[in-house]
């Protein structure tokens, strides 16, 4: 009998194994839903797949009679816009602050401890402050995402900069590089793959902050919709919305992987994904 760590599945069975948990959860849900609906046809907790399909069709492919919008797509667009803007600002900040702070000893001494403390402030605890300062509009939601994600990214970039082998920096100086040139030509390209990885890891937090701010005060968005229909126990809307958010997060994660492979080809050479 081989040791468990040496049992490696071949390619086709591996794909089958990957699909199995997804199939299993759908089957378990279908059975559970069937049992509950059999006992009470008006049960709202576990709607059948056809009920869910109808709800999705109504929200995604029929104009809302009051507003003339396709609610599902409007929600998606609003949420995606908030996420993309929030992440873009966070990324810009973490590069502009993280690289100098990680690279220059004086800035590291000045801002290192401050950044460490700042990134420990629970973002949701300051959400009321954001609402008071920035109002209930788009700004406060984007600021919450930035507040929640940028400090983590910045610290991570600073750490990645500090982890670049000392030899590289000395070598660059013997090639006549100035501090600025080293940041642009040596440091930034080398932390880029790590930055993509950190962005992927912070996607979960990003969605958390988005949905939290949409749930509390908003007029649209995926999180807003979920918390709105919760009042009517509309599981037939909540469940597909959760699945859709998960799919969007997965696609963003995958897009970041592709972007990393394109932007830092050297890093992915011969590296198993």
């Amino acid at each position: 009998m081989k040791r468990a760590i040496n049992l490696v599945p071949a390619r086709p069975p591996a794909i089958l194994l990957a699909v199995l948990p997804f199939a299993l959860i759908l089957i378990v849900y279908a059975i559970g839903s069937d049992i509950r609906l059999g006992a009470n046809p008006n049960d709202k907790l576990m709607p059948s797949f056809s009920t869910i399909g109808e709800a999705v069709g109504r929200l995604a492919f029929e104009e809302n009679r009051r507003t003339g919008e396709y609610v599902f797509w409007t929600d998606t667009a609003i949420s995606l816009q908030r996420i993309v803007v929030g992440l873009a600002i966070s990324t810009a900040l973490c590069i502009l602050i993280g690289i100098p702070v990680g690279f220059l000893p004086v800035l590291r001494a000045l801002f290192g401890p401050f950044l460490a403390a700042f990134s420990l402030i629970p973002p949701l605890a300051v959400l009321p402050i954001l609402f008071i300062v920035f109002g209930l509009g788009e700004t406060s939601k984007i600021v919450l995402i930035v507040f929640g994600v940028a400090p983590f990214l910045t610290r991570d970039v600073a750490l990645a900069v500090a982890a670049i082998p000392r030899e590289q920096i000395v070598k660059a100086q013997t090639l006549g590089a100035s501090t600025w040139q080293m940041m642009v030509h040596v440091v930034f390209p080398q932390i880029l793959p790590r930055l993509f990885d950190s962005l992927r890891l912070s996607l979960g937090a990003t969605w958390l902050f988005l949905i939290a701010s949409e749930a509390i005060a908003s007029e649209g968005g995926l999180g807003y919709r979920i918390f709105l229909v919760r009042r009517y126990l509309s599981m037939d809307v909540i469940l597909p919305y959760v699945a859709w958010i998960t799919l969007l997060a997965f696609l963003m994660d995958y897009a970041l992987t592709l972007a990393s492979r394109g932007a830092a080809r050297w890093y992915h050479l011969g590296r198993a994904q």
Binding site: Q168, K171, L175
Partner: protein, 284 residues
Amino acid sequence: MTEIAIKGLAKSYGDTAILENVNAHLADHEFCVVLGPSGAGKTTLLRILLSQEAATRGEVLIDGVPIDPEPQPDRGVVFQRYSVFPHKSVLANVMLGPQLRAAPLLGRLFGARRRAIRERAEALLQEVGLGEHLAKFPAQLSGGMQQRLAIAQALIMEPKVLLLDEPFGALDQSTKKAMHRLILDLWRKNRMTIVMVTHDIGEAFTLATRILMVDKARRDPHAPTAYGSTITEDIRLDPDKKPALHVVDESADESHTMTAIFARYRADAGDCVVDEHPNFQAAG
């Protein structure tokens, strides 16, 4: 002309003395190999020459002028590892230095000036045997090829002094031989001074015109860190009287050279070899 003078150099970290009273004068076009046991401070000496570290006392002069306190292009370097930039192609690694010098803001040239640097880089890479690998990334090169790249990258800056910190320490024997040949060729052609740190005594005698041994001259058994290392041996070798390098065939591939080196050691082993092809006999 490049003369290096090391005067009364000492380095200590707190109470731990690493180097003390290091004095040496290196003539123009010297190939100086610094030998010493592990932890003796030979790398520390190299780092001081590089201005990666500052001496506690004493000074280093190149042509009578104290060296800059920061690493500068007048002193090129090749480390044992991490000498090349992993995110740049072979060609881009070599083209980097001249572009940084010529374009302070962008670090990148365009048009005719870029073409001129490109031609120089390609010629240099051809010389170190990487002419076929211009577009590859360092991760796609073998250890010996990465060191060739690092040497080319340093040489394009035309440094007065090339500092080598155990550059061939991680290479196999056949690759090492080829690298010895290469570095001697480049040393003769470019008329520069080389200071190389190694713990391989054979390598030192093969390459050097000057061997410095760095070791502790005084020891206090009750306070092992009280005294630092100094220069305990200092010999000069005439390169023209040395036997030629046993590089079998420059165009030979690595495995061929390996076989040749093996054959030489096999011959030297003589009677120590008690049996040949024991497995073949058992099978036959």
